[in-house]
Symmetry: C2
Subunit: 243 residues, 2 copies
């Protein structure tokens, strides 16, 4: 942990990942203050240090606490309720961890998406972080559940306006995986046929000459997202995009 | 100004308005420290007080400094460069205004849109604030020009995805006014015929049985935006909106 710190501002980072079936968020274990305490989890976060801007602070914090580096981060929302640090346990933990006694911390949350592949898994396991199912957020400290839900809200709205899904999927994916992702994030069941019909109209979805291997069901065809074709179409549309 | 204050976090509010021809931003005069100093302008802003969250702080600050109240505000971006308060004048002004000596303030900017009508004009004039043309930002203090440009960026992207234009226009408007607004915000010239053709296809743009009065040119027809028709169409589209 870098010193000196600013006792009133922190960063907390919401990293979402997708493992093919379930939407996950990256958490770390909060150090217990005594043996009897329940194990709690938190978002990777820290107080900002004096010489760093928030973006740098968020990147460094994420790397220090989870091993993840050089990933795209964007500001999500600032949480500033004057009572957001109110329980004795939370205050004690802050005093123990940062050596400061504070009544109020304003936190700037950041948002990120990663593909959970083997390399990322290895990094985060070594970094002592773990991927928690977004549907099973238990024992999450502070107001971090609220922060995760804010991130989920942004992810939902982003999914419906931009091709952000392909940042979460592997490079080659099946239509079923894409549908699973939409279902997991939007929290709805989608009709298989309608989904296929809709999605296969997209000219920037490229069918590959390759199928799943070693699966118990009929092997599905792989697809790839053509970002260049997508951008080209966007440029055409943008010439005069009103709303 | 409410005390006590938090010496490291402030709010700054970017309020955009449109007067029918030009895009404006609401500024206040920065109190001069001596008679010889150049007059400088700044965004309405202040340190946050201990008992308020940021939203409350932003609303109270805007009302105290400009008279505007109960308007929709949303978080824009957090500016946190460790050197954003670097000039001696800036430091002296902060010391004089807030009675604190600080090397670093992180500011959370807010974003808002209003219709500049007579009532708003009266309020802001009484509040000692003024509407500055976005194309003519001179003598703006601190990094407030950068904050305004960030707001403009959000406004541009919002204009191309949502019917935000109608929050800036009077209730009844002409197609020319709508076009002026798009030109002012996007910073481009738009072909009159193409614009009319495109915009008149929108089913939620209602032609009124009323024309401009007392104008030197041929009086143009007024239109109104039908927010209900728009929302209905959006709901239909959203049933399964992918991207």
């Amino acid at each position: 942990m870098q010193a000196p710190i600013n006792p009133s501002i922190s960063v907390d980072i919401v990293v979402f990942g997708f493992d093919g079936t379930r939407l996950k968020v990256l958490l770390i274990e909060r150090q217990k203050l005594n043996e009897k305490a329940t194990t709690e989890y938190k978002l990777p976060g820290s107080m900002i240090s004096e010489k760093e801007d928030l973006d740098t602070s968020a990147h460094n914090t994420l790397q220090n606490l989870t091993g993840l580096k050089n990933i795209y981060l964007e500001q999500l929302y600032v949480f500033s309720n004057p009572n957001r640090i109110s329980s004795d346990e939370d205050k004690q933990w802050i005093e123990h961890t940062y050596g400061i006694s504070t009544n109020r911390i304003v936190t700037v949350s950041y948002f990120s998406l990663v593909k959970i592949n083997l390399s990322i898994l290895k990094t985060t396991i070594q970094g002592m972080a773990f991927w928690c199912d977004v549907q099973e957020l238990k024992h999450v400290s502070f107001d971090h559940k609220e922060i995760i839900l804010k991130g989920l809200e942004r992810l939902k709205s982003r999914m419906q306006t931009t091709p952000v899904a392909f940042e979460l999927l592997p490079k080659k994916f099946t239509i079923k995986q894409l549908q699973n992702l939409y279902e997991a994030i939007l929290g709805i069941d989608i009709d298989n046929r309608n989904f296929r019909k809709k999605i296969l109209k997209y000219p920037y979805l490229i069918q590959l000459n390759e199928r799943e291997a070693k699966v118990s069901h009929k092997p599905a065809i792989f697809y790839q997202f053509d970002i260049h074709a997508y951008r080209q179409e966007q440029r055409k549309l943008k010439k005069l995009k009103i709303f």
